[in-house]
Symmetry: C2
Subunit: 220 residues, 2 copies
């Protein structure tokens, strides 16, 4: 049995996504998804000196919304409609050994309270293990071949009734629209009558997915 | 005190770099640097099914060549000549909390013995915590701003005497040339008389760095 390494969070995410359901499956897809990394008291504030020189950051995090012992060597990626099995190391599934995730986010602002980012795909409260600058000369490889996940997910039209927009800021309207446009339903759900609910920006959003796209029903 | 997470290596790297000194500081810079991720017996071989559809991989690893308790909140990046301090989260320094590293490598081949890669920047024996496909539609951001590490490091001329090439394959000659061209010396070393030695591809390479570049002196 190989040596174990003990990791302790350097911080936690404050995110507009209140639960796993409807949280985007990759970073950068919902550009209006904002959040903040708030450090633990052990972290010296000097640790971020110079960070603002970079436009993008890596968040190394723990997929704490899945159980530690639920490792699946074969998984069914949603991008393949849930019909095909791939090895977990060929996917970004959370059901992996060590449950480490990787998110590339845009740096918005470094403040004394934390690091503000956008393009987030993490649930509120996600533990952060590390934060690193994105190095485009090393990590931007437009020529790379992306296998079964070659392109951005398709976006569906979102029907957002005007009267439901009344209490919302334009940022909140964008966030809800962008998040629902990528169709958060599990791959095997295709019932146009079914009503879904998700927590976004502290609000409960009810919606349905039919042939003409996503229709928002209620916001509370 | 926040919850701790226990991580166990899924494998270890077999690398052409025998020690920390002269191992490239970033991946992809020495394209002839080959290696292999060999999995622990706990890993189901099915975990790599479909991996060969991707051209590039992330290796999430542990910087096990630095002591666990040597966290430095401020570091002196070699790219800045060792004169300027940056916060550790604004650098890719190994002296960081949780000692997690991130390497983007080219996938060469998936075999029953492991995953062969190139463009490696890891020391032989480095513990691997995770392996993920590179998703160009998410992770290739040519427009990103790379702060103080905007460009590839400069390459120096390498003087490689013909008689020292006798016992070497062309791959080994490329590896030694590419590795020394990026000048592995610590930022504060500038003595043209000083002789350096490093372990590359199982050989001990002696060299010197002067005004006209790197001169290889001896290979044993």
């Amino acid at each position: 049995m190989a040596e174990q390494f003990s990791m302790q969070p350097i911080g936690f995410v404050e995110s507009c996504f209140g639960e796993k359901f409807a949280t985007p499956r990759q970073s950068g897809i919902v550009s209006s998804a904002r959040g903040r990394v708030v450090f633990t008291p052990e972290v010296d504030p000097e640790a971020c000196r110079g960070l603002e020189e970079f436009s993008h950051l890596w968040l190394v995090f723990v997929f704490d919304q899945v159980p530690e012992d639920d490792v699946r060597w074969l998984v069914r990626p949603p991008r393949l409609g849930g019909n095909e099995k791939k090895g977990v190391f060929a996917t970004r599934s959370p059901y992996r050994p060590n449950r480490i995730g990787l998110s590339l986010v845009k740096l918005e602002k470094v403040t004394p309270e934390g690091v503000e980012v956008s393009g987030l795909d993490l649930v509120d409260g996600t533990p952060i293990l590390d934060l690193k600058p994105y190095l485009p000369y090393v990590e931007s490889r437009p020529e790379a071949i992306g296998g079964f996940a070659e392109k951005s997910p398709e976006k569906l039209p979102v029907i957002f009734p005007e009267d439901l927009k009344n209490d919302l800021s334009s940022e909140e309207i964008n966030l809800i629209t962008e998040t629902l446009a990528i169709d958060p339903r599990p791959a095997y759900h295709r019932d146009p009558e079914r009503e879904y609910g998700c927590l976004l920006a502290g609000r409960n959003i009810k919606w349905r997915a039919g042939e003409d796209g996503i229709t928002i029903l209620k916001i509370t």
